[in-house]
């Protein structure tokens, strides 16, 4: 694995560790306001200071990161599963399932970025479930396209033909001769989707249509802090940098996986 990939894995691992361990070790509650200690500067007691409601910034950043990462993992798990199944079905069967997938891909291309997610998140009642519902409808398409392409390519190869000649059932062919080739690309897309989902879900919170308080994620923290950006930029910059580093870590891993030498070729 190239150095960039290792660096990305270490960076992302460190952030995951911080987000899941820091809230447990910290003496402060991430959500409870303490109006006697608002906007304290960096000190030995509060390593990154406190926010406008007197909450410890370090603890809150970790708690927000935990929520952001959990939601991103959940969305990516759903989009990857749906995408893998849909891509495999479209690739194997062809016909109308394949045409349906291509229509979905065209629609996804016509609704770039957050357009549909924003509309869905704005119309449905706010909550973590809504973010999931908002991001899944178009999130699965990229994974499905990659799995479909791999399945099509593999199904035409000689070892599948040999399996078929020996009388293997379609299910056996899928499990033993096609799936092993599709797993690598699917995992590569899943890693890429993790970064995209992390960014998209926190963007919804930043725009104020994420899950309502006390749920907090990095985007929500940045949103809360924009009003105080001129006075204490620290409140926005700390969660912003945390999100940037997490996303950078995952992106570096994805780039390393995408290289042909990593074994998992990906279009």
């Amino acid at each position: 694995m190239p150095a960039g990939g290792v660096a990305g894995a270490v960076l992302f691992g460190a952030i995951v560790l911080f987000c899941f361990v820091a809230p447990v070790l910290s003496p402060y509650a991430p959500h409870r306001p303490d109006l006697a200690r608002t906007l304290l500067p960096v000190s030995g007691k509060h390593w990154l200071g406190t926010d406008q409601l007197g909450r410890d910034l370090l603890t809150r950043t970790a708690e927000a990161g935990r929520a952001s990462l959990l939601l991103a993992f959940a969305v990516t798990a759903v989009t990857t599963s749906v995408g893998t199944v849909a891509g495999a079905v479209a690739g194997l069967l062809g016909g109308w399932p394949d045409r349906l997938l291509r229509l979905a891909a065209t629609v996804a291309l016509a609704l770039p970025g957050l357009t549909l997610a924003l509309a869905l998140a704005g119309v449905l009642p706010p909550g973590p479930g809504t973010v999931l519902v908002a991001l899944v409808p178009l999130g699965w398409v990229s994974c499905a396209l990659v799995v479909r392409a791999t399945v099509l390519r593999t199904a035409a190869s000689d070892h599948v033909l040999a399996g078929r000649a020996m009388g293997a059932s379609p299910l056996h062919l899928l499990r033993r001769t096609i799936a092993p080739h599709a797993i690598g690309p699917a995992l590569t897309v899943a890693t890429g989707d993790l970064a995209k989902t992390l960014v998209a879900a926190t963007s919804l919170s930043f725009l104020g249509v994420g899950p309502p308080p006390p749920h907090v994620d990095w985007g929500g923290m940045v949103n809360e802090a924009t009003a105080l950006l001129v006075v204490t930029p620290r409140l926005a910059v700390v969660p912003a940098v945390a999100l940037a580093l997490a996303s950078l870590g995952v992106t570096l891993m994805t780039d390393a996986l995408r290289r042909p030498s990593a074994g998992a070729s990906c279009p």
């Binding site: 629609v107 609704l111 970025g113 924003l118 509309a119 704005g122 725009l207 995952v250």
Partner: protein
Amino acid sequence: MTLALRRVAETLLVLLALSVLTFLLTSLAPGDPAEEILRRGGVQPTAESVAVLRGELGLDRPLFSRYLQWLLGVLRGDFGRSYADRAPVAAEILSRVPATLRLAGTASLIAVGLAVVVSVRAALRPRALDSRIARVATVAVAAVPPYIVGILLISVVAVGMRALPTGGDGSPDAVILPAVTLGLAGTATLLRLLRADLAAVARLPFVKLAVAKGLSARRTVVVHALRAAAPGAITAAGVVLAELLAGAVIVETLFAWPGVGQLAVTAIRQRDIPIVQAYVLLTALATVLVLTLADLCVSVADPRVRR
């Protein structure tokens, strides 16, 4: 010709599918629109007044006939009235379009300019220090979402150095920070592609010929290689411009830029569904138009596609 016809038919089908999707947003929303409008007007809704307004809005008719009526309205440019102030949605959105176009236009100039300059430099001197720094910076910019880049730019340039305004549309230089934020997001995508394309073109025989007949490296890259890499770059630029139009939502909100995106976010926060519908449908329409236009440009720039 048949290919073009099929392309048009496919586009129309996608737009039709999108219109159904957009229309169904209303029925996903919890609560009754008529009650919602009355409550926003400061009136306590009674069964009677709700029934009257439902009749006026046509809500008592079946879903399909409501869809047809809505679609016919949309085709005539009538997106209904906002829940908040009962103003026509189309006029409200149209008044915001120039600001968004100014922002997205400036941003795409920054994106294309930066991508071309940096990729040509990388093709000429791949091992130079600035090319290596640019490579690392591209990965970083691609990974970091625009609102984070924007926050960092505001805290350093606007708050720290007091060099530019933090937001709004008050002075001519107010467009710089949001456009740079938005432009950087597009640069990364475009730059990666252009760099790979230039590297691929550099291996083609005609580049070797150009070098062999004694052209300078700069002239070879700028005049010959860049032109051969243009078709891919134009397609990518189309995708990037579409992304910028959609990504403007976040940047406009962060910088209080009075564009369509800001209107949409306000509407979404207030659950003003007619504006949300119009926003989704018009974004899709703009995207489809931009992508089709990019395809047309490619067929003009690259004779191989036309054959």
